[in-house]
Amino acid sequence: MPLLALCLLLLLASAAVALALAAARAPTAAQVAATAGAVAACAAGLVPAARSLAGAAPESLALPWSAPLGSVHLGLDPLSAFFLVPLLALGALAAVYGRAYLAHAKGPSSPAVAAAALNGLLASMVLVVVARGAVAFLIAWEAMTLTSYLLVVFDHHEEDVRRAGWVYLIAAHVGAACLLAFFLMLEPSSGAGGLDFEQLEQGARALGPTALSAAALLAGIGFGVKAGIVPLHVWLPEAHAAAPSHVSALMSGVLVKLGLYGLLRAGLLLQPPAAWGHALLALGVVGALLGILLALQQRDLKRVLAYSTVENVGIVLIGLGLCTWARGHGQPVAAALALTGALLHVWNHAAMKGLMFLCAGGVVHQAGTRDLEKMGGLLRRMPATGAMALLGAAALSALPPLNGFAGEFLLYLGLGKVAITAPGWTGAAAALGVGALALTGGLAALTFLRLAGVAFLGEPRSAEAARATEPSRWMTWPMMLLAGALVVGGTSPGVAARALWPAAAQLLGPEIAGAGMPPGLHPIGGAAVAVWLAVGLLWLTLRVLVRRAPKNVGTWDCGYAEPTPRMQYTARSFSEHLVSRLLPPWLRPSTHRPSLGARLFPEPARFSTESEDPVTRAAWRPLLATGAERVSRIRWMQQGQLPVYVVYILAAVVAALGWLSLRRWLWP
């Protein structure tokens, strides 16, 4: 705990130093100070997190606070430590990467302030995870929103970025309001009350079933917004695309996961009945499928990745839902498998998506565009970034021998266990869940092949892409560390699973966790090693077999003599078959076709497609628009007519006197 306090202190202090230096017009020094502080703080914080996962006893700390809301309780248990590990690891890498990424930013915002905000974001996320009381949690939660918002709108001179930031802010605010209500609902109404988690747990026991469901709904909305659960995910792709890439990495890798952390904590408080597992499972399946179906339509590199985060959160939710269901139905093994798989996937996804966003950042930084259709051939021009992006793409498609496979493997096992043993419809439902997961996996492969293929392979589709070069070392090193994590996580998934088991055990409770960790991952690690060996062996074989290869020949292209980059298959055409043949119209991007031939001579016409989120398009936008329209009807009250204003006062008096008389008449 002292080291964790040191971590928080270092983050805040370095942020303050950076702001001071920025104010003193020393932006470079400010960035360096903030980055150094972040790295040191993350290193300091990883120690207690690792110790806690290694079995150290939970620690806690109570700080006196003068506000009327009780003292601030902090604590470190395996669940917190589980989320601290990716947070601090990815945080340090993002900070290092971010310094180089933003060093020459030309936008309206100061890189030094952004570096300080990043440290603030890290500090607030750490605080979210270690808070043991609702007040500290909410403060940290909102501080997390604000700091991340400031980072998202780093480039706020662009209209898109502003809109993305605003959508994010709206979503976060609605979520926070729900959380506020959630925590306050749980406060025990008898006695002195109190908003520490312990007291809230007691309060939850006293709630009736209706109130409990309402509380669960509030928690679901509040945390679900952050986690990007469909249909609350709409802010996610916008914000991730708009933010600087290291921030997107941190958001996708960690911030979104903190929504899941909140759900898990809420689960510990509420002790959800098994029936809620169905809801989570359904949400998970919908989220996974919708997320990936939207991901494969996007033109914007970072939006692809963002929608894939929606998908992966859905996958984790499938695990959580299954665990909830299985616990209540006497399937301890399936529950343990599902939860371990879900948690492992959280870690794996943090590494994979972190890597991919950093790679995307490299591309955006060097090629100056997020549009897939303007990329191509980047692997030749930025070999390290490109190779790591391909690795990340394979991992995100959940392919062995990389880490993405391990978590899904356990999830499949858990689902499969239920599918082959549970009687009746539950078994069928679990089996269909397996089918859905398989479909998701196949579509993920499509999505990431499309991304990697269009962006990194083939020929460049724009002059900028042709000129791109490898980004600075400070940007590639963090990527390489993450890529290493992908490989190691793939070859030794058991190690990761053992490391996170204390957190899973805490969530599962002693009855289930007492049976020990479910086996299952060992062969996967071996298989991964076998794949590496087999591929290596055959690669050498091919090297030997290929004796003479003439240099400088073009692609054959069925004999076409002058193939141009424009003839390549585009990102849109890559997914066109699936999108236009198989998806219902409301899931497709809306297209604006030019009207031709209306006049005698053709006029200039534009064809454009818009990939606004279908949920936004169908639900949230109309809802907000009508809401704003309804609400602002009240404006006729203020017409500038003084006499009318006086009537309001009279009406207030009359209404109050009337109420008084009525009261006296009703309750004499």
């Binding site: 404006r635 203020q638 017409q639 007519q641 003084l642 006499p643 009537v647 009279l650 008389s661």
Partner: protein, 214 residues
């Protein structure tokens, strides 16, 4: 409490109706002045024993409410060279009806308020509330700044009548109220009317509607 109180209150109530029903600015101002004089008389009639103090306030009230302010309003009307009609937003008959309904409601509500022994049976409370209501009506249904000022004065008169209940127990309160109201009326409204007159060259407050939500 003297026997003259209730008749005086009736006079005031009648003046209320007269104000609601009159169509000429001059008549409105004169009605206001008359009500001011009646208030002065009330002030002398209400207390059981008369003190110099009370007489002084009464004299001041008559001077201000009955002479000075009406005089100022007459002058403002002359200077602004405005039309002499009242220009109501709500017509005279509806105004009168509303006034009648209001007076009835005031009577009903006043019955729910228990009175101290020395005041039992007095019309003071209902007259006060009804006059306040009349003031509100004039304020809200008349368009010119001058009529709005008179409406406000009537409203103040209503409050003043309420204060008469306290004139024995807490004379300080009554004086304070009376004097400060006049301060409002004279200094601030006078100044503002002057400015409005200059800026808009009319005393029609219907023009003062630039600030609004559209």
């Amino acid at each position: 409490m003297s026997r003259a109180v209730d008749p005086l209150l009736v006079v005031i109530l009648l003046l209320n109706f007269a104000l609601l029903g009159s169509s000429r600015l001059r008549a409105v101002i004169n009605g206001t002045a008359a009500q001011g004089v009646a208030l002065g008389a009330l002030l002398i009639a209400v207390p059981a024993e008369l003190s110099w103090h009370t007489v002084l306030i009464a004299a001041g009230t008559v001077a201000l409410k009955g002479v000075l302010i009406p005089g100022m309003l007459h002058r403002a009307m002359r200077d602004a060279a405005i039309r002499r009609e009242v220009e109501p937003v709500v017509g005279f008959i509806p105004s009168l009806l509303l006034g009648g309904v209001g007076t009835g409601a005031a009577l009903l509500f006043a019955r729910t308020l228990p009175l101290a022994p020395q005041h039992v049976g007095s019309l003071l409370v209902s007259a006060s509330l009804s006059t306040v209501l009349t003031g509100f009506l004039l304020l809200t249904t008349r368009r010119k700044a001058i009529t709005q000022v008179t409406g406000y004065l009537i409203l103040e008169n209503g409050v003043f009548i309420m204060g008469l209940l306290l004139v024995e127990a807490m004379p300080f309160l009554v004086e304070l109220g009376a004097l400060l109201d006049l301060l409002v009326a004279i200094f601030v409204m006078g100044i503002i009317i002057n400015h409005i007159n200059r800026e808009f060259s009319s005393l029609d407050t219907a023009r003062l509607t630039a600030l609004k939500e559209e």
